[in-house]
């Protein structure tokens, strides 16, 4: 039995489909820009937001049911709808389940919006709303584990497919750029004054981004040549500090080791690593240490966050969806914002697109609470 990825969608500052986002990332386009909106933050700040008018237009085109939804719910529904439209999967089947990944959900409902049930602030209510919209009979499981939520949700989906109950899992994730999140990261002095520069010598913080993403996983006994398979995944905790990453990369090392051992691959077989790469000093140094400690330093590394920012609960999903496209086209994407190396341990960070056979790749994520996650993808 194998688990393969059959469809995906990405809605971000760089477009409304996986293909559009992939093309823009290939050109190292940057969706991060300056916002001067006192409702979001009292002074100007940088972020990568979804194009508002286009989101509304697509929503009006797609939503035939005259449902009143929040911005986040529109993103989630549009993302699932587009990913689903490329498959024949029956979302109303009891053999299909939905897994939602988000850190803060409808957090903007702390200031109630007329005609929206304020209970949808609760993440399980949000999940229920999405499940009902699509007529899915199963409870929508909600994963909320800081910035590893997306990768953890994919790992969880693969695990669910190992059991007997399901044939398909739809993993969907989203988070907004809100006053809540911007103020929080500002108070942590974590936001860069310029579009973020992952792994760069001069990096000085992250850029926030807004996105929704969907990945559809399928159980199959007969994977076909070229299929991208879920090979292994794991999470681990640094047990060190609730906001700062471990100086020894302890948790990340354990997560990567366990994911690789489940997948059955050795370090020399990893063709490419898509890192978390938030562009904070500590995160990127920590990842360089983990990669070095595990003998993975020869694998080219990149981060997509220089293009669409840190999209929190969506990050693991849209980045894995992009990594899958990367593997299908045997092309490692550039790291927007990266110019000069400058991490504790030396890494090969891609500045330009790089053609290379990509059979086995690693995806990393880390977050507040000392959590780390890794997953391994393999091309059949």
């Amino acid at each position: 039995m194998a688990v393969r990825f059959v469809s995906s969608n990405i809605i971000s500052s760089l477009g409304f489909s996986t293909e559009e986002n992939f093309q823009n990332l290939l050109l190292a386009k940057v969706g991060i820009q300056t916002f001067n909106d006192p409702l979001l933050y009292p002074s100007p700040f940088l972020a990568a937001c979804i194009h508002q008018a286009e989101l509304e237009e697509r929503w009006n085109e797609t939503n035939q049911k005259v449902v009143i939804a929040t911005r986040l719910e529109k993103m989630l529904i549009l993302s699932i709808t587009e990913a689903l439209s490329k498959t024949k999967i029956d979302i109303s089947s009891s053999r299909t389940a939905i897994l939602l990944s988000t850190t803060k959900g409808n957090i903007d409902l702390l200031n109630p919006i007329e005609s929206i049930d304020p209970e949808r602030l609760l993440l399980w209510k949000l999940g229920e709303f999405i499940g009902h919209y699509f007529g899915n009979p199963n409870p929508v499981r909600v994963v909320t584990n800081a910035c590893i939520s997306g990768v953890l949700a994919i790992n969880t989906a693969a695990m669910m497919l190992k059991g007997e109950r399901f044939d398909h899992i739809i993993v969907v994730g989203a988070d907004l750029v809100t006053r809540f999140v911007v103020s929080g990261f500002m108070s942590f002095l974590s936001l860069s004054q310029t579009p973020c520069k992952p792994f760069d010598r001069d990096r000085d913080g992250l850029s926030l981004g807004e996105a929704a993403g969907t990945l559809i996983l399928e159980k199959t006994s007969f994977p076909e040549k070229g299929d991208i398979l879920f090979a292994g995944g794991a999470t681990a905790n640094d047990a060190n500090h609730i906001s700062g990453p471990s100086r020894t990369a302890e948790g990340s090392v354990i997560a990567i080791q366990n994911a690789m051992s489940e997948a059955g691959f050795a370090a020399k077989e990893i063709d490419h690593i898509n890192a978390h790469g938030t562009a904070t000093r500590y995160n990127d140094d920590m990842e360089s240490i983990a990669i070095q400690r595990l003998g993975l330093s020869e694998s080219p590394v990149n981060s997509y966050k220089g293009s669409w920012g840190h999209t929190l609960g969506a990050a693991g999903i849209i980045e894995t969806a992009t990594l899958i496209e990367s593997m299908k086209t045997d092309t490692i994407l550039p790291t927007a914002g990266f110019h000069t190396p400058g991490t504790t341990e030396k890494l090969i960070v891609t500045k330009e697109p790089l053609s290379k056979p990509l059979n086995t790749c690693l995806k990393l994520a880390s977050g507040f609470g000392g959590c780390n996650a890794a997953l391994v993808l393999n091309k059949k």
Binding site: H241, I242, S243, G244
Partner: protein
């Protein structure tokens, strides 16, 4: 200065939720971080907020925090210096 130091001790205890610690337990020259009061990096960020909220002083470069927040005394000196301006 004495009064400011006492007030600061109380504000820090309250802001940082230092349960079971009284102003008398804090020596104004002891280091706030590491061995002394054992504050950590999140507390340091919280002290920046405290200066802004209670004294209207904004620290532009967070790296300056290390010197300013060395002890209650250095903090008080910094506040006195910047409030005069």
């Amino acid at each position: 200065m004495e009064a400011l130091i006492e007030k600061l001790k109380e504000q820090i205890i309250k802001q940082l939720n230092l349960e079971d610690i009284t102003p008398a337990d804090i020596n104004e020259e002891d280091s706030l971080f590491g061995e002394g009061l054992g504050l950590d990096s999140i507390d340091a960020l919280e002290l920046i907020v405290l200066l802004e909220k209670e004294y209207g002083i904004r620290i532009e470069n967070p790296k300056d925090g290390q010197k300013i927040f060395f002890s209650i005394k250095t903090m008080a000196e910094f506040i006195q210096e910047h409030q005069k301006k």
